[in-house]
């Protein structure tokens, strides 16, 4: 790892230092090096959205992000979004509305939905549909996902 250096970032609120070569992809660093496996690898080409994380609060495709560019930044994964006990309002709404089936896309949707409701606490149905149109779900037909996000919004997530 002649090119390797140390990456320093805040990961889920805590400082992390990790060896990281320039060509390392953030998703691979999170999953394979740091064992944060909640972030999923679905297509690796930016299409499925399963790998969505927050970088400085911004939903980001971690499969299309060089890990080194997270140096000095805040990265939040699904593990960081989840409270130590219980579920966040968005997560609870996903469970109760049946918005998760196989669950593989779910962490990405939770991250996207959490950011959406932070910025737009009362989205319309059309706004929800548009906001999740970069996350692919093959199980639900999206119906219950949209319902869950609307429910979480109503409950003041």
């Amino acid at each position: 790892m002649s090119e390797a250096g140390l990456l320093r970032m805040r990961l889920n609120g805590h400082p992390v230092v990790a060896p990281c070569e320039p060509a390392r992809i953030l998703l691979d660093l999170l999953r394979d090096d740091l064992h944060l496996t909640g972030t999923k690898r679905g297509c690796d080409l930016g299409t499925c959205g399963c790998c969505t994380v927050l970088v400085d609060g911004r939903p980001t495709l971690s499969c299309l992000t060089l890990a080194r560019l997270a140096d000095g930044h805040d990265v939040t994964t699904i593990e960081g979004i989840s409270p130590p006990q219980g579920l966040s309002p968005v997560q609870r709404a996903f469970v109760e509305s049946g918005a998760t089936q196989c669950g593989f896309c779910t962490p990405g949707f939770i991250v996207t939905a959490t950011a959406l409701l932070r910025d737009h606490p009362h989205p319309s149905r059309a706004e929800i549909e548009r906001a999740i149109a970069g996350n692919l779900c093959r199980c639900t037909g999206y119906t219950k996902i949209v319902e869950a996000i609307a429910t979480a919004a109503k409950d003041g997530a």
């Binding site: 090119e3 070569e21 060509a23 691979d28 959205g49 980001t60 060089l66 080194r68 996207t112 970069g134």
Partner: protein
């Protein structure tokens, strides 16, 4: 999928970037949002040994007063109601780019300079090797129109037609300093899917400037694609204009998603200024644009369909812009 090793450079100023680019002459790619470059790198498309990440060059960020930094993220424009109010054609185009997640990282400059696309090019190394490499990457022939000279890959950015319709200029930094040129001059109209932009080695796209006269133009960007998200344009039609009652006070039209570069159709729209745009004249305009553009079979939808849609989309875009003007 891993990336092959490269050296990563992180300049913090435009000058430093230009110097670095000059020293790496031709052996680098700029990394903006990465949403187009990194998939291509994962598929081993035209790898370079150096990446210059523009992330930390503060001057490239921001938008306002008609200036759009090259590294401004599309999501920043998407979320800004002022864009919708002042440049509806641009707001349309930004909102149609790929997906919200791509827009969250993708940038203005990245979309303007997005790599041309083709069914035979945007494939893995294995796929391309198994067919025989093409002109645009690792090979010497074209599979779309079999010959060895010209690449038919399609320009697939959404912002360029919209910004052309707004008479935008690009600000370029180079070894000789800053310069400005019309956006259409950024693209090599005589080139092809490979030789597609006029940027000298070491030059850097800094910002896009939309003239004050274009603020408030009524406009519309209409994009043909199979799904309302994800898909690159199979056709993108941008219109911006002003109407004085029924009379056309100004009208600009640009089309992307069909040829290797986006095209502006001033020669067809200028004669319309000053008179009312009857349905017949609008139809004639649309038909002529359709006649001048030649889609090839290198995207999902068939070329004859895409060609026919040029006529429909041009007519509708102009009509909807005009109706927006009336309302």
């Amino acid at each position: 999928m891993h990336l092959d090793p490269f050296a990563l450079h992180r300049p913090t100023s435009v000058d430093e970037t230009v110097r670095l680019a000059g020293s790496l002459a031709g052996r680098f790619d700029y990394l903006a949002g990465g949403t187009d470059l990194l998939p291509n790198y994962k598929m081993h498309l035209n790898l370079r040994p150096n990446l210059i990440a523009l992330e930390d060059v503060g001057e490239l960020r921001g938008h306002g007063a008609g200036r759009f930094g090259a590294m401004e993220r599309l999501a920043e424009l998407d979320d800004d109601p002022a864009i919708r109010a002042e440049y509806p054609v641009l707001a349309d185009a930004v909102g149609e780019v790929a997906t919200p997640l791509v827009r969250a990282s993708g940038t203005v400059g990245g979309n303007l300079l997005v790599e041309t696309r083709c069914f035979f090019f945007n494939q893995s190394y294995f796929w391309r090797e198994s067919l025989g490499f093409c002109l645009k990457a690792d090979g010497d022939r074209c599979h779309v129109v079999p010959q060895k000279e010209k690449c038919y890959a399609t320009f697939s950015g959404d912002l360029a037609p919209a910004l052309m319709a707004l008479d935008a200029e690009v600000e370029v930094a180079g070894p000789a300093g800053r310069s400005r040129r019309p956006l259409e001059a950024l693209y090599d109209a005589a080139g092809d899917g490979i030789r597609r932009v006029h940027l000298a080695p070491g030059e850097l796209l800094v910002a896009v400037h939309v003239p004050a006269a274009s603020r408030g133009l009524h406009g519309r960007y209409k994009k043909l694609r199979v799904r309302p998200s994800y898909d690159f344009p199979e056709l993108g039609v941008a219109v911006a204009g002003r109407w004085d009652g029924d009379r056309v006070a100004s009208l600009r039209l640009a089309v992307g998603g069909v040829e290797p570069h986006p095209r502006r159709f001033d020669a067809l729209t200028e004669p319309l200024v000053g008179s009312a745009l009857s349905d017949d004249r609008l139809r004639a305009l649309a038909d002529e644009v359709m006649r001048q553009l030649r889609p090839v079979h290198n995207t999902f939808l068939l070329p004859d369909y895409r060609k026919r849609m040029i006529g429909v989309y041009v007519r509708r875009a102009v009509d909807e812009a005009r109706r927006g003007s009336a309302s």
